[in-house]
Amino acid sequence: MKMNESAPVGASYGFASVARNPGAPLTLDWFEDVQVNLSAAERRAASLPARRSVKKNYQAAWLVKALQCIDLTTLAGDDTPGRVHRLCAKARRPLRDDIVAALGLNDIPTVGAVCVYPAMVAPAVKALEGSGIPVASVATGFPAGLTPLPQRLAEIRYAVDQGAKEIDIVIHRAQVLLQDWAALYDEVAAMREACGGAHMKAILATGDLKTLRNVYKASMVAMQAGADFIKTSTGKEDVNATLPVSLTMVRALRDYGELTGFQIGFKPAGGLKTAKDAMNWMILMKEELGRRWLEPDLFRIGASSMLADIERQLEHHVTGRYASTTNQPLA
């Protein structure tokens, strides 16, 4: 699989499915001496939204694609099966029928996944039955990740057992801050093993990692340990997904692909609230990784309220008017 190749115009987007990353032995010289130029990363990140302007039908299509890449999320202390049920109803039917028809779409698009805490996996699976939308569960002591390892692994097995098809694990940030790559690698590899057939997203909690160098290194170790996706944040850090951090991660992802031939997915999460945010991250993906990374098997957006803004923009596209926010309830 060659990286950075955009599909020829008119090609069907039934792309070849992504071969699962088998991981690699911990290889320090793939990342140990990396340097990241902070100013250059910030400048590149700042130029991306400014350089590309996607309008009219193109913008509508991009927003539909963004919608299909959303991991519709609820991770609150007061989650109930009822709330999860309503969220799943929204996941199945995120756009009003008249908007879908006006866009000329044959079928109503659905979101990429629904993301919940382990105890809410069963209600989510039940509510999504027959829809084809997978349930993703956070695990491993989300968000801090500081419970004992046996309990963290048991949590993964529990979530998979309950029906989660995807697991978003959190790494132990101290291991990155102390540069203990062997320990990080071993833990993430154990988590991957516990996931079994479920796909694993490794949340790096980049807001805790402080430097872009750490972000690059942690990305590499997670991929070597077998992560299927690398994810920016839990959404609970002080700083969550930013474009410079995302740029660093996708460069690591690209480098891993060049070294191994395997494609890894990317998921920004936390702080993405508007349709414009979705567009900016999609521009990042297209510019840095190419067309293939604009599909839900390689790109997800961790968001909830963003869906309402996307709906609003799509309604504006078809009607020419902005509806009141009460017209786009999150279920």
Partner: protein, 162 residues
């Protein structure tokens, strides 16, 4: 324009041309031609030549060929202004330069679009690089003017240069 379904397949960016209606309106309002800005006002347009957009070949405006008399008038006006300008403090000069910078920034989009139509370079160069840099230059020199007393003590104004 391709349909949403087609674009979901290709995920092309699509064309997103910069709007230039505001500049076209302004050019239409000046279709009798541009004179020269001398001594605080525009001269009457005369000896007009066509100004074309290099990207399209279309004439966008007509400007005047400067005459010897125009040049003499400009130099004379500059010499007249030289006296009062020389007496201005650094701070006063800074205010003038700063005001120009602010006005350029206020009209940045307009000027970028006009510059691209006149010069033919891509809008990205005009809008993101060249015109902001024009404003930046005036801010920079306004800064130096403010400090002229401290940074350039004993310097005297030379005269009108061309």
């Amino acid at each position: 324009m391709p349909s949403v379904t087609e674009i979901l397949d290709t995920m092309d960016y699509g064309p997103a041309p910069e709007g230039n209606a505001h500049v076209l309106d302004w050019l239409k309002a000046h279709e009798q031609g541009f004179g020269h800005f001398i001594n605080g006002s525009f001269t009457r347009p005369s000896k007009l030549f066509d100004v074309a957009n290099p990207a399209t070949g279309q004439t966008i405006a007509r400007a005047s060929v400067g005459s010897t008399a125009d040049v003499d008038a400009a130099v004379k006006a500059a010499r007249t202004a030289f006296g009062p300008w020389s007496k201005l403090s650094g701070h006063e000069r800074a205010k003038h330069l700063y005001a120009i910078a602010r006005t350029i920034q206020k009209r940045e989009r307009f000027l970028s679009v006009l510059e691209t139509m006149d010069n033919g370079k891509p809008i990205r160069e005009s809008r993101d690089i060249d015109i902001p840099l024009v404003a930046r230059h005036f801010y920079h020199h306004a800064g130096w003017a403010e400090l002229i007393g401290d940074e350039f003590p004993g310097y005297q104004p030379v005269g009108v240069c061309g």
